[in-house]
Amino acid sequence: MIRPLVTRLFDRMHAHPLFRAHSRKAVISLPFVWLLIFMLLPFFIILKISFAQMGIASFLPLTQFKDGVLALNLDLTHYQFIVQDQLYFRTYLNSLKCAAWTTAWCLFIGYPFAYFMARAKATVQPALLMLVMLPFWTSYLLRVYAWKGLLLNGGLVSTILIKTHLDWVLLQAEVITERGMFMNTEFALLVGMVYTYLPFMILPLYATLSKMDGRLLEAAADLGATPWVGFWKVTVPLSKAGIIAGSMLVFIPCIGEYVIPELLGGPQTLMIGRVLYDEYFGNLDWPMASSVAVVLILLIILPLAVFNKYQAEATEVRP
């Protein structure tokens, strides 16, 4: 009953010359225009605001037309301040350092994990994949919050670390400042970051490793390579796309992370995401917050380009 009606409707719609000429354009332009307005335009707006002077209630306009003279007021003091101020410089550096450490640990834990997952029996692989993805579905805010309970004095992980004297090692590594105190330290921040971003590393790695042809390793072995050599000369180079995509998926968002430093790192953590947030909500200084964001974008633009190149190759997961 309804089906022929719908088909007739489609027929007429499709016969319409306007539709014929524009269906392709519509498919492309609808998401394109949406992204141009809500993704690209906002960046130009913060770029503009970052050069604006802060007035009493809001910022002043950049251009002024008076007595036939067009004046352009570019206020560079915010950028000057970012470059000259020690605290900003250290915060950017510390954010990069923290993101780099997180990426390194995720790779160290995630690569063997993805490797063994890809080599597990074909029947259990979908279940393993599901198990990696399930925490990813449950709220990350709640999972970060859960670490608070584990790291507080008397918490499970805190107790284990003290009993095994691993807190002494952490103290020597200078990620905690006092034995037995883990909350609000670099250690807590790093654990939270690695924990949150580990699935982002595992999934692209697993995707490339599971697509690998096992006969290549056999060929390497036949040609006299030990398993160790075969791993480094065959497996690792073939998973390059996964390594790069996974690292970028961890590294880039980590630089600007806000929630994890706020909940686990404590008030003295120098992370640029926090500074930006405080600049906006605490000081209500829009031009300053915009300048901080623009510099942050400049920092991530190169890794972003690398990510785009390898993303398509690696993020496809085939269970």
Partner: protein
Amino acid sequence: MTLRALVRTGVAKFFGRAWLVAGFVFLYVPIVALVVYSFNASPMPVVWAGASLRWYRELPHDQELLRGVWLSLQIALYSAVGAVVLGALASFALVKYKRFWGRTLFAGMVNAPLVMPEVIIGLSLLLMLVSMQQSLGFPQRGMFTIWMGHVLLGMAYATVVIQARLQDLNPELEQAAADLGARPIQVFFLVTLPLIVNALVSAFLLTFTLSLDDVVLAAFLNGPGSTTLPLVIFSRARLGMRPDINAAATVIIAVVSVVVVGGSLFIVRTERRRAAEIAAAQRA
């Protein structure tokens, strides 16, 4: 096989299993601890004082939390719909049309929110909306602006999921339908859509949970009276551990797990049925 080789493969196997188990312990211990401590009778976060349902009994009386839940569910539903529609269109554009003006820019913009720090998206979107409001008088900050942010974020994830599925699609199926006289729009609704419906469902679930989970964008884009559930939880979690958050968290995790596992089972089942249908059609 020599004894040495046997020992070596045995050790490798053991090492592999141990690494996987340790990894899963790392991933799941915090979640288990969160759930266990929600049944703690003591209001002290790490002191166990016996099992109790006290915090669950208090949940239905927590007005702030309930308002947050209702608002978040609405926003999540609308943003999942928006993100899946836009994500599907974007995937079609990227997979079907290999060349069009600005394709590289388009692909870059679609992917950017996957990695772009949320503080940047939040701040830039907010400042744009504020400028818009100053010159046009709308939109007021609130549910609608949060929705915009979530659609933007969700669209990127939806595109990844749907795009992967579209790339795997056998083009012969669509060609066959066209050869049999189906118009392009019929091909889409009768052939393509049923084939990608699984990807649409998983994209919907993913964007729904993303929206339900987001703190940073909501913090920038919310207005008076639009405090979402994650904002309520975050503002309480900042102050310390509270057992009522654990109880709320357990309920959320339980609901999400049931929905995700159910959704996955549905996807696996339809996938099998479709594979069987295709195999039967090929035999015939």
